[in-house]
């Protein structure tokens, strides 16, 4: 589960404090966080992913309150339990697709399982790109590899930042289906943060950020 209470954040440069509505997700639920640009939705996603520390409040994933974790423990926790898909796909340039996934396993202190990598890529139609350099991939392939990377360690929570904003309607539906299927397979919480209103009709659970 993913539960937040009274979470607020302030940027170092300003004294403005951003407050966020409480969130309560159970395992396997899919949530949509809608908000316009500047509503702080990326900040919220980064807070949920442990990339930022809240000024106040608590963020609980599973049994752990992540804002209480010391820095190194937080990194480890994140590697094992949270999968984050960013707006623009990033990879370790010197490595192939397979090696990128291997390093995701390594950094989370998970065993390096090549067969799991192969089957995950197969399920995303990327099986044949195992040994390709990430620079050789098309944009769509890159996005699917970054989804694979977020999923490889079977995280409890999958966070996606604007996964569909740059896509046309058909691709938007494709990616959405992909995310939902993969999340369901692992019974993970899927949380999509976006301003793309096309997604509104697909989600039972929604939060609007103002």
């Amino acid at each position: 589960m993913l539960i937040t209470k009274n979470v607020s954040y302030s940027y170092q440069s300003s004294s403005d404090v951003l407050t966020f509505p409480d969130i309560n997700c159970k395992s396997g639920e899919h949530w949509l966080l809608l908000g316009q640009s500047g509503s702080g939705k990326t900040t919220l996603l980064h807070l949920l992913g442990g990339l930022l520390r809240p000024k106040n409040g608590s963020i609980q994933i599973g049994d752990t309150e992540i804002q209480q974790l010391a820095s190194a423990k937080l990194d480890q926790f994140r590697g094992k339990n949270i999968g984050i898909i960013f707006q623009k796909p990033h990879f370790v340039g010197a490595l192939t697709v397979e090696q990128n996934l291997q390093i995701a396993q390594y950094l989370a202190n998970e065993p390096q399982d090549k067969s799991r990598i192969q089957s995950l890529l197969d399920s995303l139609n990327l099986g044949h790109k195992l040994k390709s350099k990430t620079s050789e991939l098309s944009e769509g392939e890159k996005q699917r590899v970054s989804i694979a990377r977020a999923l490889i360690n079977k995280p409890e929570v999958i966070l996606a930042d604007e996964p569909t904003s740059a896509l046309d309607d058909d691709n938007c539906t494709e990616v959405l289906k992909l995310l939902e299927t993969q999340a369901k397979e692992q019974n993970a919480i899927l949380l999509i943060v976006t301003h793309d209103t096309r997604l509104k009709d697909h989600f039972e659970n929604q939060i609007n950020l103002v």
Binding site: H90, F91, A94, Q99, I103, L107, N109, Q112
Partner: protein, 398 residues
Amino acid sequence: MNILSLSWKNIISKPLSMLLSLLLLALGTGLISILLLITTQVEDKFDKNQAGVDLIIGAKGSPLQLVLSSMYHIDNPTGNINLNEFQEFMSQPMARRYIKQVIPVSSGDSHMGHRIVGTTHAYPTLYKAELANGKLWDKKYEVTIGSVVAERLEMKVGDVFYSAHGVGGEGDMHEDKPLKVVGVLKPTGSVIDQLLLTGSETVWGVHEMEGEPIDSASREVTSMLVFCRNKFGVLTIPNLINKQTKMMATSPAMQTARLYELTGNGIDVLRILAIIIISVSGLSIFISLFNSLKERQYELALMRVMGATPLRLFFLVILEGVILAILGYLIGIGLSHFAMYLLEGSLEESYQYDFSSSLFLVEEWYLLGGAIALGFVAALIPAIRASRTDISTTLTRG
């Protein structure tokens, strides 16, 4: 896949940068290594060959030349001294008081590039030479040869040959006086290995004209190796010799010290050059790592997201510097030992010594330590910056 293999893959993903850093480091460490190899071996040989000789007495001329020719058998002899004159000097009570032992050395002839030295049995004893085969010379025209001579010229006990005048082997052959090998010495690691030893009478005999034996009044030797009873002798005897006789006495220890001093400057310049090159290589490693940070800011942030702690990112970059340094060092050492191998032949001709390319010095381990430290220091600032990557800011940016 781990931090080590990732470091390596990062390095080779920028081949030109890697090549530059490696080249510079290899050049610098190679230069220092070869200087070490040459100077250590030269100093070693010089020390070994001095064998405790306190003074050398020979014809007046350059003291350094006297030492080089009579002790190390490089360079031409300065001339000869008259045996009678020497014995007159030795009959003085002062001389007998201070001088413990003398060994005569007569040089001037050679065979196929190796010098023939007329002396007594005390000479091989001085260098702790042992016989591998046969015996030490006894009769006139008998010769005992050093191990390298036996190997190079493929000579063995029983062989007969003719000596040539001059030390380079270019002079006339003494074709009427055959010399016979009666013994071969075991390797000693000293100059003896490269020489053909015989009695002083042989050298006189070879130079005698048909039927005209050299009379004892005009018998000459090239020099005398002198052992003194105490330090006073080393100081006093040269004074006496230089004032009272037509001969000259010099201390090999002082002359070699002077030689090191003279060549030391050249070596220092090369050392400084090598250090400059190494510093520049460190700079190139620093620059290449520092520049790469900008390019891989997202990938560093991503690694943090995947679970890497700041310390891990620190190690990643440090490893990149250290791996480059170690690799550059290995190439440098390989090059220097290879160059030594190529030079061995010509160095041996000039210096009459056996140089080795397979010798590895303790100092070369220190050099490795230095290279690793260089890699670490060059990578330090980039590594700290990498570890300080702010995940959120970086990934919001792009």
